[in-house]
Amino acid sequence: MNTAPPAALLASFPDADSLLAAARRARQEGYECIDGHSPFPVDGLAEALGFDERRVVLLAGAGFVGGFSLALLAQWWMNAVDYPLNVGGRPLAAWVAFAYPAFELACLAGAVVGIAAMLLLNHLPRPGHPLLDVEPFRRASQDRFFLSIATVDPRYRPRRTEAFLRDLGARQVLEVPP
């Protein structure tokens, strides 16, 4: 048996609604270091846990705009500044033509930046997370819903928190090894 204090407590719920309700209650109780785990995105769960950011969307948008501008600028520099050539009597700075690849590259940049931002902010990839060692947690990707409260949470008290979780209707409360 592990003697060190656990990293978190993990409560399992049978469905999304009870997880959502539990999460809201936990927030009301003042817990801060809490997280939900579900086999699909549960509407409102993140917001219930205090998630309020649009950074990924904004960064993706910035990626799009930045990609577009950069591509446009790069094409202009290559075709009109660094090696200007008379191509079919067309203008050197053919913005309309440049806009086409720029738009495509903007799409690429937007998607890549958005995804990269998501991974960075989520601290992914993290294949060695302790939660993944909890045997029952495997159901989190299939049909079980979990609420975790980290032991670093200022409101965390070993017995009281466990009791609180059971009170919320958790089927099972587990300790996450450190």
């Binding site: 049978p14 995105p41 660094d82 191509v87 086409y100 690429l108 998607a111 989520n122 294949p127 299939q142």
Partner: protein, 436 residues
Amino acid sequence: MSTGAEIFQPITVQVADIALARRVRRRWWLALALSGAATVAFVATVVWLLATGVGIWGINIPVNWGLAIVNSIWWAGLATAGTLISALLLLVPGQQWRSALNRFAEAMTVLAVAMAGVFPILHLGRPEAVHWMLPLPSTLGVWPQFRSPLTWDVASLLAYLLVSLAFWYVGMIPDLATLRDRAGGARRRRAYNRLALGWRGSALHWARWRQAYRAAALMAVLAATLHSGGAMLFAAGPSAAWHTTGLPPYLLASGVFSGLAVVLLLTLSLRAAFGLGAVITGRHLDIMGRLLLVAGLAFLYGAATLAFGAWYSGDPRQAQFLVERAVGAHAVTTWAAMALMFVPLQALWWRRARRAPAVLAAVALAVVPGVWLDRYVLVLGGLQRDYLPSRWGEYAPTAAEWALFGGTLGAFAFLFLLFVRFLPLVAMFEIREATA
């Protein structure tokens, strides 16, 4: 209220076990062997081609683009349907039925774009210098020429491939986590865990993932729409047959049309092969049938608009291209394409037909080659009958060209079979979300 275990477990088990099953059915091996052989033949033809050059094709002046370009824009067109089903419908609220189909439709998209990208490289006179189309510094000091619609095509095909690949992969992460958690052996678990990036279904992760996923979907849709199956390469040039603003929507519509037919074929095959009747229901088939009908009618409208525009332009050469298509050297091909694309399609006005897999398969099997023939006529007709009658020429594809086309079909099937075997072919989490 029933518990998650009762609702979600059947779909999870059914889909995940396709990828996780220890024993594989003989049919899969047989299909893999066949498509593998075609892939080997493809690689051999490519080696032959690279060793001897495009002289082994039937291309000439004026028909200096042949089957390779037909195939390229045909594959690129197919891809657009996958993007439409997965990305566009993701952005449209209330379209949860897509969840049963989007994963393999995306896989189809990624593979089709890859196949579309093979041909433009192989068709080069000097394929060893293909990287000159990218803005890489070189001793020549020359850059790519960004006014060229071909450069646009390089940029858009590349962007399209990468965006759809990223979109497909990001959408697959949660399902890879499911595979990890259901995988038996430690090695497979580790492998799937790596692929899933250690995904643990955290609420905050989900929230950010959703934002990124939707942003990527939007990008994929935009990229696909602008690419329009490579239409700019034709529409931006001065050829009378192609030089029309109607061409990009025309190619987009026909691409979606043929792509939907391919998705339908894949749907029916996977449904039958893995008994996915509970996941891909009659309602799914019904909607797919309707979509195919709508796409077909949209394409028919587009074709009619192009024809009208050619006639109404008063340009004798545009009209002549029309006549050439209808009664000229390609008349048989043209009308075969029309018949294949639009005659069986009419069965889909009936609900019973839309729910009958055999009827759907027959319609789709007609549409796919029909659109191919339509592109054949579009590309070759435009080149064979250009401005000066003195330069009107003929073209006959050679065995090497057909072998390459067959080879990409084989390579597509080969890679798709591997996808079916090792990756989650249905978006399980989305189905859970939809049923919750």
